[in-house]
């Protein structure tokens, strides 16, 4: 591992702890978060040259506290950043003793910070951006690259998000017990959003964006470490691992998408599958059922089949019936219809799909047409299947999906 990579990994791990310490000492989440970013930036420039200080966390707390004082004194942020890059003071010179005493609180701080960044007053894109920066320790530029927007736009989103949190009167404290379940649901949603953004991008040329899957897994792993007894946290981590395990097989070298049934399963990441299966099996046995656990269980059944034709569709069908009960949504029904088709035949699947006609939540959504096309193809109605594949191809805004849907239509004749 190179020095710079080692430093970056350490900084990303320490970022939420340092922010937590500062906010507990000084309040003012927005200013503290900026100050920590600057301290991280300074460390990422200095440490690869001077070596990692003996007490890196204390170093960051001290430097960030100084930045905070500067900030309060009203120096411009731009000037401070220039100085940060120019500064070359020996690493340990800056350290004042003491901050390591905060260590026992570090875990609580990281969790509190995650709840704050996923505050319900924020829009999902703001929750994602702020979480990646404040909890994930990514720079604004890295977050901007991952979402293919200008850095200035991302900076604006992050600062707006912090203003919103302030305006909502949110404090740096764990949500009250009565709200905790709902707040945790939002946190999990944000992590899953980050994961999916990266997973979808791994079919395209945006490698920066594809890195988001590993970042999401890292954050979910950390959350699972902090809340080991929560079934849905374990379920989400398992779902990510079991999905990401297929990444090496989901695209061809030309970037085109390979459907699950046609993937070369020998290329799946067996280690990730084993870890995911163990996680979901363990949690299903002891925690109350939740949607992430059920989705992970479904992914596990797929991943455990050596060949597509060995898939235990009956078990998958049972799991989708449970999922429809626990967390009904039109997207669940779409996937449920595929499972019905595999167990009871394509016509039965198409009947379930018909219940979604006229559902506004799916109006104009290409997935309804894509699933219908697939089931019509299974039913042997080639002409209708081709029409639906074409309709789905016209409606999607994803280039690789469009290419896949057009190729399916072309396979069914002129």
């Amino acid at each position: 591992m190179s020095g710079a990579t080692q430093v970056e990994e350490l900084l990303r791990e320490l970022a939420p702890q340092v922010t937590g310490t500062l906010v507990r000492r000084y309040g003012q989440f927005d200013l503290c978060e900026d100050a920590v970013q600057e301290a991280l930036l300074a460390a990422s420039v200095q440490w690869p040259e001077t070596g990692i200080p003996e007490r890196p966390r204390g170093w960051l707390v001290t430097v960030a506290s100084r930045r905070l004082t500067d900030q309060v004194r009203g120096e411009s942020a731009r000037r401070r950043r220039e100085e940060t890059v120019a500064a070359r003071s020996p690493a340990d010179e800056l350290v004042t003793p003491g901050p390591e005493a905060d260590l026992p609180a570090a875990n609580d701080d990281a969790l509190t910070l995650l709840f704050l960044c996923c505050h319900p007053a924020l829009s999902p894109p703001s929750q994602v951006a702020l979480t990646l920066r404040a909890v994930g320790g990514l720079t604004t530029a890295q977050v901007a690259r991952a979402f293919l927007v200008p850095e200035a736009t991302m900076a604006q989103r992050i600062s707006r998000a912090k203003q919103r949190i302030k305006a909502a009167g949110a404090r740096f404290a764990m949500p009250p017990p009565a709200e905790r379940a709902e707040r945790l649901r939002v946190v999990l949603q944000v992590l899953y959003l980050i994961f999916n953004e990266g997973y979808a991008a791994s079919s395209g040329p945006d490698l920066q964006r594809a890195d988001l899957t590993s970042e999401a897994i890292r954050l979910a792993r950390e959350l699972h470490r902090l809340l080991p007894g929560d079934g849905e946290v374990a379920g989400l981590l398992a779902l990510m691992l079991l999905t990401d395990a297929r990444r090496p097989a989901r695209t061809r070298p030309d970037g085109s998408l390979v459907p699950l049934a046609e993937q070369d399963r020998s290329r799946w990441d067996a280690g990730a599958v084993a870890e995911g299966v163990a996680l979901v099996t363990g949690t299903l046995a002891r925690a109350p059922l939740g949607p992430y656990q059920l989705q992970a269980a479904i992914a596990a059944v797929h991943d455990e089949a050596a060949r597509a034709e060995d898939t235990d569709w009956r078990q998958i069908l049972v799991l989708y019936e449970l999922l429809e009960r626990v967390a009904p949504s039109p997207v669940v029904t779409l996937n449920h219809a595929v499972a019905v088709a595999m167990v009871r035949g394509p016509r039965a699947g198409l009947e379930l799909l018909a219940t979604l006609d006229g559902d506004d939540r799916l109006a104009g959504h290409h997935r309804l047409d894509a699933v219908r096309a697939h089931l019509l193809e299974l039913a042997g109605d080639r002409e209708a299947a081709r029409e639906r594949y074409r309709a789905a191809a016209r409606a999607t805004t994803s280039l690789p999906e469009q290419r896949y849907l057009e190729s399916r239509a072309a396979r069914l004749g002129p």
């Binding site: 604006q156 979808a200 395209g204 993937q263």
Partner: protein, 118 residues
Amino acid sequence: MKYVVLIYSNPAAWASLPAGEADRVIKVHNDLIDELTGSGEFLNIYRLAGAGTARTVALHDGVPAVTDGPFGESKEVLASLWEIDVDGVERAVEIAGVLTPHATVEVRPLMDAAGMEM
């Protein structure tokens, strides 16, 4: 979700607007840009030079032929193009609505290089 906002207007109608009205519309546009910049939804703007400076190129008898002026017979021409990143089509349409005085506005999603296997 990224969208382009295509703003079409009629240069002749625009030129005949009372001075105060043109200024008012320009201010509406600029205020909207400020608002979208503040909310982190604004990505880019391309202000197009007058339609008279356009060259339209099309094949004639197998050879690219150049004519002066914009494509098509319509009196409305593309005036500017914005790139935005918003939650969904409802928000894109809401933004377009603000721009409609003296213009026809089309919003269109941009294709994404990412996708999910099925």
